[in-house]
Symmetry: C2
DNA sequence: GTCTATAGTTCGATAGAC
DNA sequence: GTCTATCGAACTATAGAC
């Protein structure tokens, strides 16, 4: 991919992920780059194609980022979940549900189902690859692992929001520590 | 409030909460009601005013719904969290973070800060009113209660999404049971 | 590769008939 | 209370000069 197209994707990614597909115009994206709106069409086919290219690149990064975070962590559940949480709070699109619902509703059905598959393969899969072995070892409760993975993403989505808006006075590292502790051992004092 | 305006708010609520402020046009809302777009302006001042009226009414319902759910439940942490979760999965707007970020970015700053305050007062407050006494009793870990409340909302947001899209084969009641069990006692087998 | 110009559509909002 | 008609602005996308 050309370096110029890469820069277009960078600008589009920031805007689309922050505010959503419908809320961002091609002029907004061109404006960030100091270009006229029409100039974008030399690099991309249209708004939908641009959005899907952004999503695909981002999801590819999620997958490799999560897999590397897991591979670099010690081979135990707590360390791996912390590594996942650490990656997610810094690199996850801040609103996954908007992507899966609102954004998906405004692109073609083909693209929408691709979007869902990308999230399943690039975000759910790596997390499941940590949870499921731990369940087989009898370490984790024998409940639906998709629910556990969804809970982790849902929580981290909220943490990432708190973090970006600076709504907690704790350092990010401490927040992750506490969140993972609750998910592993519960909020109840034992 | 007139019955007709109420119907306008109903239609707008469903569309706005599902797809977001920017993605919905006044024509979309009128279409659901079988009206011409211009007819809406007899009932509301404009799109922003309509959106804020929808948010305010919804948040008022969240507050009374949550407070009643808590009051009707037995006076113990687990029962009250389940009551909250039960209410949220059925009545929460499906994407709180989109409301607080994307939607807020497309309305006037005054309205945006009102939106934030409504969420704090109508959703966070009732949840805090359950968590904080339990912390004072020494029942819950002495961590930031806002973080715990945010975790609950984040998780329930994801559960509500799973539930609406029918991505889990369990009945909703069982999902809530498992989610609250994890938040209270952790996913680790003890 | 980026520009200007513009076609064609859709948007929020207003005016005025009924 | 709802309609038709319409305005001005913003949108995606294309054509063609440079």
């Amino acid at each position: 991919m050309s370096e110029a197209r890469e820069r277009v994707l960078d600008a589009a990614e920031k805007l689309f992920m922050d505010q959503g597909y419908a809320a961002i115009s091609m002029r907004d994206i061109a404006g960030v780059l100091g270009l006229q709106q029409a100039a974008l069409y030399y690099h991309v086919k249209g708004k939908e194609e641009l959005f899907m290219a952004v999503v695909e690149r981002n999801m590819q990064r999620q997958r490799t980022g999560l897999e590397q975070a897991i591979a670099s962590a010690p081979d135990d559940l707590e360390a791996q979940l912390k590594a996942i949480a650490h990656w997610l709070v810094e690199h996850m699109p801040v609103d996954m549900i908007r992507m899966l619902r609102s954004d998906a509703a405004h692109i073609s059905p083909t693209y929408a189902s691709q979007l869902l598959r990308h999230v399943a393969e690039s975000m759910m899969e790596p997390i499941l690859s940590v949870i499921q072995p731990a369940q087989r070892r009898g370490e984790v409760q024998p409940m639906d692992p998709n629910l556990l993975a969804g809970m982790l993403i849902g929580v981290m989505n909220w943490v990432a929001y708190f973090d970006q808006e600076a709504l907690l006075e704790m350092p990010t590292e401490a927040v992750i520590e506490q969140v993972i502790a609750v998910l592993l051992h519960g909020m109840i004092v034992r």
